[in-house]
Symmetry: C2
Subunit: 339 residues, 2 copies
């Protein structure tokens, strides 16, 4: 324990205001806060990698949601990989790396509940925020548990070049599906088919008629639709679903910034006609099965069956911009900030 010294301070990034519609830089506040002294059972952590994710937009509002909103004037938080600098807990020692949901601070003292040790020799540290973290688990449980795909079926993925989408497609290929991805540039489509083994891709920015384009890319119809985007793209999918199709509602980035409940084509008649389902989920629903998921994903990773792409930004101060850039589709794969 440090004695008598001046209190240590740390950079922090707070929520300054609740965004109306699209978040902007002015919704964030760079601040300094004190790092308290280490008590029993606590660890002093230095932030190494910070995950930025579309779902954080929800926590910036105070509408009721599945996790509590961020507080104005208090730090934002997300998945972080940190190095243990000093430890008052027997299970952790200086030099260990841990993963957990932590406030956006460069340095902080935390209790160890909810911190998981990660091994930098088994995979790069940033992978524990992505393919072996929430991203990979979201893809794995959404596709396998809700999508219940059967070999030979057609899987359509929206936001396919995003962090979750690119993993979903690869798991689809491992499971023997025909996999089609929707993304927003020819470069991304090229990445899906060349790097990630997707069978086909649709660039929604250069396609006039998405209903027709999906029909052409999925000539046997869509059996499983992993939906990361919502909005007009998902409306177009409805016209192409098969009898007994399953839609996994993982995200709706297309409408997260809407100030009113978004409108579109009502799926109900399509669901009735096709005995089809739509089901939302968040990865916290599967907290009891995370170990199982990480095991399976790590196995595929070691067998070279899974690849992943990261967009790594540098510097603690670039966290807000990295987050904002998610809504412009500026990331390829998982967006993380290296501190």
């Amino acid at each position: 324990m440090r004695k008598g010294e001046t209190m240590q301070t740390t950079k922090t990034i707070n929520l300054k205001s609740r965004p109306v519609g699209k978040p902007t830089m002015s919704d964030f506040e760079f601040a300094t806060s004190e790092v308290p002294k280490l008590k029993d059972g606590e660890v002093l952590l230095s932030t190494r990698y910070v995950s930025v994710d579309p779902y954080l937009r929800g926590r910036m509002s105070d509408a009721p949601s599945y996790i509590e909103p961020f507080q104005i004037g208090k730090p934002m938080a997300s998945g972080i990989i940190a190095e243990v600098i000093e430890s008052n807990h027997d299970d952790f020692k200086a030099g260990d790396f841990v993963s957990g949901m932590m406030p956006w601070k460069e340095t902080q003292v935390l209790k160890t509940d909810g911190l998981i040790k990660v091994d930098p020799d088994k995979a790069p540290l940033s992978a524990y925020l992505g393919i072996l973290g929430m991203t990979g688990l979201t893809a794995y449980f959404g596709l396998t548990d809700i999508g219940k795909p059967k070999k030979g079926e057609t899987l359509l993925v929206s936001g396919a070049a995003g962090a979750v989408g690119s993993v979903v497609g690869q798991i689809g290929k491992i499971l023997g599906l025909r996999v089609v991805g929707i993304a927003g540039s020819d470069e991304k489509i090229e990445m899906l088919t060349s790097d990630f083994g997707f069978d086909a891709g649709i660039n929604y920015n250069t396609t006039d008629n998405m209903v027709k384009a999906i029909g052409q890319a999925c000539p046997d119809g869509v059996d499983v639709y992993f939906d990361n985007v919502g909005g007009e793209i998902s409306d177009a999918v409805l016209f192409n679903i098969n009898k007994f199709s399953r839609t996994i509602n993982c995200g709706a980035i297309a409408v997260y910034n809407n100030t009113e409940a978004p409108k579109g084509i009502s799926p109900q008649p399509f669901l009735v006609k096709n005995s089809a389902s739509m089901q939302g989920f968040i990865i916290f629903d599967y907290v009891d099965r995370h170990a199982e998921g990480i095991r399976q994903l790590a196995e595929w990773l070691q067998q070279d069956k899974l690849k992943y792409t990261e967009t790594i930004r540098e510097g603690f101060d670039s966290i807000p911009q990295a987050f904002l850039d998610l809504f412009k589709g500026k990331n390829k794969g998982k967006m993380v900030v290296k501190v």
Copy 2:
């Protein structure tokens, strides 16, 4: 077999034109057709009760659907209870009553495939078109298999005074749920609470703010939503669903007559936020389990746990008008025509 006599004729009701939007009387054609002579294995049937159902609207269009469309100039068809007049099949004899999907003809010769004998001593003949037929089975499998209700949960039913809805609510009460029904008149709401044991009802025709009204009638939120209507009512439900809620998409009568894909509030963000599901189905999906369903429903009926309401119209010629009146909500419970 009848020899040498003049060929017998029968009244029949054909599809004259495919409706655009709401069907009208001009889409139907009253005609006469010949009744062929009885061949081996066939029965001569006299129609007694004819079921009219909202889903028939779908078969009047030629859009792809779960069952083939009716043909222009050919008879409409639906669930019918008929009396065997003459039989060339060992399992059937004159005086037997049968249930099946049959063309709208007063008299007809049919093969016996798909015909089920029904017992007029166990229940009134019309019940086999309703509570012990497609109606009851739809309510039973939709609620129990898709809705997976747990004792103490809140069940909301739209189209609650309709044939399926009133049975859904009663099964909900048998299973220990709080049951709230939505219908279009105070008289119907009174019937739901007084006759069918619903805990509360909402008259959507006299309610300004459905979102609020549902919230008040379901103070613990909606766990299971049995959706017979779609449209704006179902949009309002989205704001009141609980975490892990299940919506059973049974029908969308509010939008069946739309000429374009109906628009409304996009449910995707609500499903993501609540890890909630929506699932469509048709009763034909459960064809392997019909016997199980009929057994359970008959048991509840004999124990006086299930009541049903019928609206019975009289006369073969009134079938089209009875069908059209479904879309005006003129029926209470199952609409059948007695011939």
